[in-house]
């Protein structure tokens, strides 16, 4: 079933980490297997935040050798960064297997991402000027607590609670998905894309790379490619309704935008609350009520509806 939510402030940064946590926790019943956040903080000039992992959470249950392996993998990532001339300004380790680096880098993001992913167990969750993508097993409160997201300040974000149906319960299969290797683009999706392989092969022929077998990742890469070709986010969303088959409602974010698209059947839910200073969307109104407990006027976007909001 899965639950998705999005939040954007039009008048500056707020403590969206705590609000996104509350919204996603309210959607826990739609998917308790994993929770993910893609949130946008203050961008720094020529600086990126890189979120990556070097093992899956369940790998830690595999004996003592994994701990030594994780240390070796972290060192290997460090060596890659040094070799590419990446200046690591800050390094946090919220868990043994997931890391956050604030880096200064003016080289090729794809080369950086590719080389980090060559390290055994290495997977980039996101690289962005403003984007930070965090996902792990468990509900929103548990993930938020482990990664210290309650105090995260930013302008906008999207999130996902996952009920695993077609792939494993692991971080690799958790949402949101970053548009590898494009700066600051992430997606959450509720639905099923039926021409996934057709679209994916087409994008792969154009040189795009996918890190998962999840149809949601397609939407991220598809959008990033469209934006690179010069389309606006709104144009890309509209085109997706014609080109992507299946039932879907998805939210996509860039460095300063939050977009929404709903398929031709309107088969997947979305409730929208729009005010002068903020916009909140979620699979269920109860998630919006988690941050706005007073009576509010909400609506359901219709079939083929596309919306884009600016931070």
């Amino acid at each position: 079933m899965c639950g998705i939510s999005g939040l954007i402030y039009r008048d500056g940064a707020r403590k969206i980490g705590g609000e996104m946590t509350a919204m996603l926790q309210a959607l826990r019943h739609r998917g308790p297997d994993s929770t993910g956040f893609a949130m946008y903080g203050a961008p720094g000039p020529n600086e990126y935040v890189m979120r990556y992992k070097v093992a899956e959470k369940e790998d830690l249950d595999g004996g003592t050798r994994i701990h030594r392996a994780i240390k070796e993998r972290k060192a290997a990532v460090g060596a890659v960064l040094e070799e590419l001339g990446v200046n690591v300004l800050e390094l946090d380790e919220p868990t043994e297997y997931a890391l956050r680096s604030r880096i200064a880098f003016d080289g090729d993001l794809k080369r950086l991402a590719d080389q980090v992913e060559e390290v055994e167990g290495g997977e980039i969750l996101s690289i962005g000027n403003a984007l930070e993508l965090i996902k792990d097993l468990g509900d929103a409160t548990a993930v938020s607590e482990v990664y210290g997201l309650g105090t995260f300040e930013g302008t906008h974000g999207i999130g996902h609670t996952r009920m695993a149906t077609e792939s494993d319960v692991d971080i690799r299969s958790a949402h949101p998905y970053w548009a590898y290797p494009y700066n600051d683009i992430a997606v959450v999706h509720n639905g099923q894309i039926t021409n996934y392989w057709l679209m994916r092969r087409q994008l792969e022929r154009e040189g795009q790379r996918f890190v998962s077998h999840c149809d949601s990742e397609l939407l991220a890469v598809y959008t990033a490619v469209n934006l690179e070709k010069g389309m606006t986010l709104e144009e890309s969303l509209r085109r997706s309704i014609d080109e992507i088959d299946g039932v879907f409602t998805y939210l996509i974010t860039t460095g300063n935008e939050l977009g929404m698209a709903k398929d031709t059947m309107a088969a997947k839910p979305m409730v929208l609350y729009e005010a002068n200073d903020m916009v909140a969307l979620a699979s269920e109104e109860v998630a919006i009520r988690a941050i706005l407990p007073h009576e509010i006027e909400t609506s359901d976007p219709y079939d083929e509806e596309v919306r884009v909001w600016q931070a």
């Binding site: 839910p269 109104e285 909400t298 359901d300």
Partner: protein
């Protein structure tokens, strides 16, 4: 009388074959002990009023408290701070009044048979599903599948509703003050849908029977849905029904478009149970 009945049903776009077949309705007579109520219905007093503050309660507990209040004879219950929680006010098979001060989440007011419910806020997906009888009025917007499989009673949304309104509707009346989304009336089998605003694509797709009235634009019709002539009886009925819920447009109902099934199945007629009396 027979001629008049035939004329009446024809004018309303209905066919005139004899109404035959099985009848599964329970027959009530004045001699029945307990009158016209179900044997399990609570004996409630409409003048006894109570309130439930839902702010800290789970849906199961809220529904249990409603039943407890009914058991103690309360016939008017106010639901405060519902907070868009799911599955509230469900399975009530009594005549009584319920006032919801706020919004409901998914599957609100499902499986009702008899109560009058007024909701001051919005409702989520599948509101009023399988309602048998009674009245539900939503003052704001509603989500998709509003009135799915509705069997009887009046289901009213004064705002706009999502997609697939009245999907699989089997009776009763759905009234929408604003717009409705795609696939409204999908596989509708009986009853009426009235939309004062616009209707999305595939209106009445695969409908077997029933009638849809739209005051605004219709994006397109679904398979088997066709336009029919709006008769004086239609206009009179629309005027009376919309007036009841303060939804009558200032210009009246003359501009409404009437949609019916173009291919009726042999075993269907589109008379409401109450209308059968007119033609029998």
């Amino acid at each position: 009388m027979a001629g008049m009945s035939e004329s009446t049903s024809t004018q309303m776009g209905m066919h005139t074959e004899p109404l035959t077949g099985r009848d599964i309705k329970t027959k009530f007579t004045l001699e029945n002990e307990g009158g016209f109520a179900y044997h399990f219905a609570r004996d409630v007093d409409f003048n006894r009023r109570a309130e439930i503050d839902c702010a800290e309660l789970e849906p199961t507990e809220i529904n249990r408290q409603i039943r407890d209040l009914m058991d103690s004879g309360h016939g008017s219950i106010v639901i405060r701070n519902p907070g868009a929680k799911h599955s509230l006010v469900v399975g009530i098979l009594n005549r009584m009044n319920i006032i919801v001060e706020g919004s409901l989440g998914y599957f609100g007011c499902g499986l009702l048979d008899g109560p009058t419910v007024r909701i001051s806020g919005r409702v989520g997906w599948s509101f009023g599903e399988n309602m048998m009888a009674g009245v539900c009025v939503v003052e704001e917007n509603a989500g998709s599948t509003f009135g799915a499989a509705l069997r009887g009673g009046d289901l009213v949304c004064k705002g706009s509703v999502g997609s697939r309104t009245g999907i699989d509707q089997k009776g009763g009346t759905i009234l929408i003050g604003g717009d409705t989304g795609a696939f409204s009336g999908f596989m509708m089998q009986r009853g009426r849908i009235v939309v004062c605003g616009n209707a999305g694509k595939n209106l009445g797709d695969s409908m077997y029977d029933g009638t849809i009235y739209v005051g605004g634009d219709i994006r397109d019709l679904g398979v088997d849905a066709v336009q029919a002539e709006l008769t004086d009886l239609d206009r009179a009925w629309l005027t009376r029904k919309l007036n009841m819920y303060e939804l009558l447009p200032t210009q009246g109902v003359g501009h409404f478009t009437k949609i019916v099934a173009g291919k009726q199945l042999w075993s269907y007629d589109n008379l409401e149970p109450t209308e059968k009396k007119l033609v029998l």
